[in-house]
């Protein structure tokens, strides 16, 4: 490594950072426009054509705003927390492949890198809530941590199943580029719809989007962890949320929609980023669409959904994919039979467990009702 390498790295990081910021501006504008259309409004329309400069103007406003710091906060951690929240999301962009030739760092264990770095942003949220010295902020960060920890599991299990599937078609099953190449024929969305659904739910929860925006919940805890932040520091929270959304959509497009694969993408490499952007936009629009009609979940519903449905379902998904991949690699009818039996048994076990839990819940609810009636 020479000094020139270091300078190159610095330049790349600078360009990528500004690229992410531009993407975020676009995503925010797209959300305001799409949501407005879904709610029969016009949305931003004054600043630039179709209001496209609105978010840029908002960003300038946030930067010029006074940075108010309440007197009772812990200054050091209060200032540190927004950085700790944003950095991991930005670090994820280092391994995301834009096309077969345009990859900043094609790690062999890129999938594992994504999973490991994703877990780091919780620390910033918890610290922000604590440093604010505000009950609502602390509640928000506690909710955020609980939600992120719970929904990380189905997300990671779905991602692991993708790695297992990719193993059948590439010798680099944990590299993001390898996964895309493995999906040359059929995207994994069609092979593993349950995995995609779990990934999407996990991604919505990780980025705290409606219906999982319990950590913010403006009507209950007035915004959660960032209630005491103002100006550009508040902007960093906002930025992180949308950068996270873009990152998750990027990952979903790579892991489940076949990334840059598309008609003639092998003959015409310049088409590849185009296909990728189209797929990412489709997922982002899907997320906006999910947001528009749905109300916010209650915290107990959120936890029940994660631990009683999403995690068992993701485990079943993993077991089924593992047995099928193993049987297919050995191509042995006895293994197919064993795989089938294991799959059926695990699905049945998951269903029975869910049923028992549901019945016990109803029993307990009935007990409560009887006690109330007395």
């Amino acid at each position: 490594m020479t000094l020139l390498d270091l300078i190159t790295i610095a330049v790349i990081v600078f360009v990528l950072f500004n690229g992410v910021l531009t993407v975020v501006l676009g995503v925010i504008w797209a959300e305001r426009k799409a949501l407005a259309r879904l709610q029969q409004r016009v949305g931003p329309s004054r600043t630039g054509p179709s209001g496209i400069l609105q978010t840029a103007a908002d960003a300038v406003k946030l930067m010029l705003k006074e940075d108010v710091r309440p007197g009772s906060v812990n200054r050091l951690i209060f200032y540190l927390a927004p950085l700790l929240i944003f950095t991991p999301i930005f670090m994820l962009w280092m391994v995301l492949p834009f096309s077969s030739g345009l990859i900043l760092s094609d790690l062999d264990i890129g999938l594992f890198y994504v999973v490991a770095i994703l877990g780091l942003s919780v620390v910033g949220h918890v610290l922000a809530g604590w440093a604010s010295n505000n009950k609502y902020a602390l509640l928000g960060s506690a909710r955020n941590a609980a939600q992120l920890i719970s929904y990380e599991l189905p997300l990671v299990f779905a991602v692991l199943a993708v790695g297992l599937l990719a193993q059948t078609a590439t010798d680099r099953p944990f590299s993001l580029a390898g996964i895309v190449e493995a999906q040359g024929g059929v995207p994994y969305l069609l092979i593993m719809p349950l995995g995609f659904a779990l990934f999407l739910v996990g991604a919505l929860a990780e980025t705290a989007r409606i219906p999982f925006d319990i950590p913010h919940a403006e009507e209950e805890i007035v915004g959660g962890a960032f209630v005491e932040y103002s100006g550009i520091r508040w902007g960093v929270f906002f930025l992180t949320e949308y950068a996270g959304l873009a990152t998750m959509a990027f990952l979903a497009a790579i892991l489940f929609l076949g990334g840059w694969n598309g008609p003639f993408s092998d003959q015409f490499p310049p088409l590849q980023p185009l296909y990728l952007i189209l797929k990412i936009s489709a997922i982002i629009l899907l997320v906006f669409w999910i947001r528009a009609p749905l109300p916010r979940l209650r915290i107990d519903q959120l936890m029940a959904f994660a631990w009683k449905l999403a995690i068992p379902a993701s485990l079943v998904n993993l077991v089924v994919v593992a047995t099928v991949v193993y049987a297919q690699q050995r191509n042995d009818w006895e293994l197919w039979l064993a795989g089938g039996i294991i799959s059926v048994v695990s699905i049945a076990l998951a269903v029975v467990t869910g049923f028992i839990i549901q019945r016990r819940r109803e029993q307990r609810l009935n007990q409560f009702r009887q006690r109330w009636a007395q």
Binding site: M1, D108, F112, A116, I117, G119, L120, V126
Partner: protein
Amino acid sequence: MIAAAILGAVGIITVAGAVGVVATRSVVYAAVFLLLSLVGVAGLFLMMLAEFIALAQILIYGGAITIVLLFAIMLTRAPEQAHQQDNQQRPLAAMACFGLFILLTATALSTPWRTRDASSDPMAEFTALSELLFSDFLIPFEIASLVLLVALIGAVVLTRSGREGA
């Protein structure tokens, strides 16, 4: 040359974080310093081309352990400033730490470390590690998970016992 400088900087960060953990009076600051030190260790692994171990370090220690620690601090409402930094057990603690230091140094010096260079295939290391985990070291691996399960059930039992009949 620059790689060595980076390695040195990461090492200094790691040690500074570790010193911060024991030197600060605030438990939350201690947790943040611990995070710094643990991520620094991950950086050391990364500089030594052990990518998988580095990422596992970030995943387990940087994410999970730090969060559990911060949660414990916040839920138990531990006082932010410890009133007393040390007690009469100081010589005992010093002896224990020194003993541990000697033991670790002796182990580190006497172990024949396998090294790899940047040209070798990282995927092969990854595969070899996972094969070892699921063959030779299967039983220790599973016992470790059993310990975690016992801790989990213990935590549930401890927190539930207070509200029997609720």
